[in-house]
């Protein structure tokens, strides 16, 4: 049995760790409210962009590189959204696991994936392994602002718009964690570019008014191993409910091409911002869960250790008493 001194110091250190875990848990729960506010504030903008893209899709034949890739180019971009700090359970490691399996899948079909990483943990993971990274961003993974989304979107769109000869990419996949609820967060793979606009012509009424904007899910999930963790994104299909209403005739200023040039990149940017926000909410939630479990574990450990300490103290008292009594007995016998 460990010495009493040893047990005491273990109890003390576990207590102070428990306090840290508890504090982290409380910080995480206070951040969740903030993450929700940020997401709510960004919602009207992404709604407005979505409506505008809908209007565009309904009134024009969209012919823009963002919507369909024109040339054959095996290079594709993969953006992994990880966290800046640890203490978030399996958050970053699940993202990395899914990214690795996506990279392997892309490799297998003859693509050349380029890696883009957001979040210090992911960056240091790949740097340590000397992996080639095309670009990295760090900071504010738990509360990403519109500026961060703009930086990322600008860089990725720039690479996307380049030709193959210039080192451009033809597709963009995003690996991020979707916030389902406080307990469940799922790793998702989303194909962001090229944006796929689907017309639902099978619906009644005015078919032109029914547009489904569907950034198509990754369809190469023949690798079933990871697909239990990382389902693809069918929930991303958003259909329009304006069935009974004929779309008004729009005027586009200065002209349709310019409007497309202006709006489609913004649409992509706002989609990336959405991914960042849901990833941030997931990070905070998984940090809160991890810290909650850690606090519970620390408390259990303290209980066990305290019991051991008490037992060993009692054992030593019993031993001392036995010794005293037996020596007293021995003395009494000598006197007789």
């Amino acid at each position: 049995m460990a010495s009493q001194l040893g047990l005491k110091s273990r109890i003390a250190s576990t207590t102070s760790l428990g306090k840290i875990f508890n504090a982290q848990e409380m910080i995480a729960s206070s951040h969740i409210a903030k993450a929700r506010t940020v997401a709510l504030n960004a919602k009207p903008y992404s709604d407005a962009i979505f409506d505008a893209v809908q209007a565009l899709a309904a009134h024009t034949e969209i012919d823009h590189p963002i919507v369909k890739s024109t040339e054959h180019n095996p290079r594709v971009a993969v953006l992994a959204l990880t966290s800046d700090r640890g203490m978030a359970g399996a958050y970053t490691s699940s993202i990395i696991r899914e990214t690795e399996s996506l990279l392997a899948r892309l490799d297998k079909v003859g693509k050349q994936p380029l890696l883009y990483v957001y979040g210090r943990r992911g960056v240091s993971y790949y740097r340590y392994r000397n992996r080639k990274i095309a670009a990295t961003w760090e900071g504010d993974t738990d509360q990403p602002g519109a500026e961060t989304a703009r930086e990322i979107a600008d860089r990725l769109l720039e690479d996307y718009m380049k030709t193959a000869a210039q080192g451009g990419v033809s597709e963009l996949y995003i690996v991020f964690t979707e916030f389902v609820n406080m307990v469940v967060q799922k790793v998702r793979v989303l194909r962001m570019l090229p944006v796929e606009l689907v017309r639902n012509s099978d619906q009644k009424a005015d078919p032109v008014a029914n547009v489904t904007v569907e950034p198509v899910e990754n369809d190469k999930s023949e690798n079933g191993a990871a697909s239990s963790v990382a389902a693809t994104v069918p929930g991303d299909v958003t259909s329009v409910a304006k069935t009974d209403q004929t779309s008004p005739l729009y005027t586009f200023e200065p002209n349709v091409a310019k409007v497309l040039d202006a709006i489609l990149p913004k649409y992509v940017q706002s989609r990336i911002h959405e991914c960042l926000l849901t990833a941030a909410a997931s990070e905070t939630a998984s940090r809160q869960n991890a810290m909650h479990t850690a606090t519970d574990n620390a408390n259990n450990l303290i209980d066990t250790l305290t019991r051991q300490l008490n037992a060993s103290r009692q054992a030593s008292i019993t031993q001392e008493l036995t010794e005293i009594i037996s020596s007293a007995d021995a003395l009494n016998k000598e006197e007789e």
């Binding site: 960004a42 903008y45 407005a48 989304a149 005027t251 202006a262 913004k266």
Partner: protein, 97 residues
């Protein structure tokens, strides 16, 4: 008359700026300043850096310094979506960040 006011919704990429009924709105469209009155024809236009200002039903002016974005007008409702926007009057309710 139904056309005396229109719904206006001005949003920046990180937060909503102003929502309400307005009698007229002027926007810095890419082809030059544009004024919109209620019942304008449906339009989707790109906007540049400049000032968006809306005059509400009480005649108060709400102005915002904005950077690029777009505006769309449809069924008497105007949506202005911009990258960044700052209230020029520093109205505390609109600029609360």
């Amino acid at each position: 008359m139904a056309g005396s006011t229109m719904k206006v919704n001005i949003v920046a990429s990180d937060r909503p700026l102003w929502t309400g009924e307005a009698k007229s709105v002027s926007i810095p469209a890419s082809e030059g300043g544009m004024g919109l009155l209620p019942d304008h024809e449906p339009i989707l236009t790109v906007i540049d850096k400049g000032t968006v200002s809306a005059i509400d039903v009480d005649g108060n002016r709400h102005s915002f310094e904005v950077t690029d974005g777009f505006a769309s007008f449809d069924s008497n409702s105007l949506t202005v979506a911009v990258e960044t926007g700052v209230d020029t009057k520093k109205d505390p309710t609109a600029t609360a960040d």
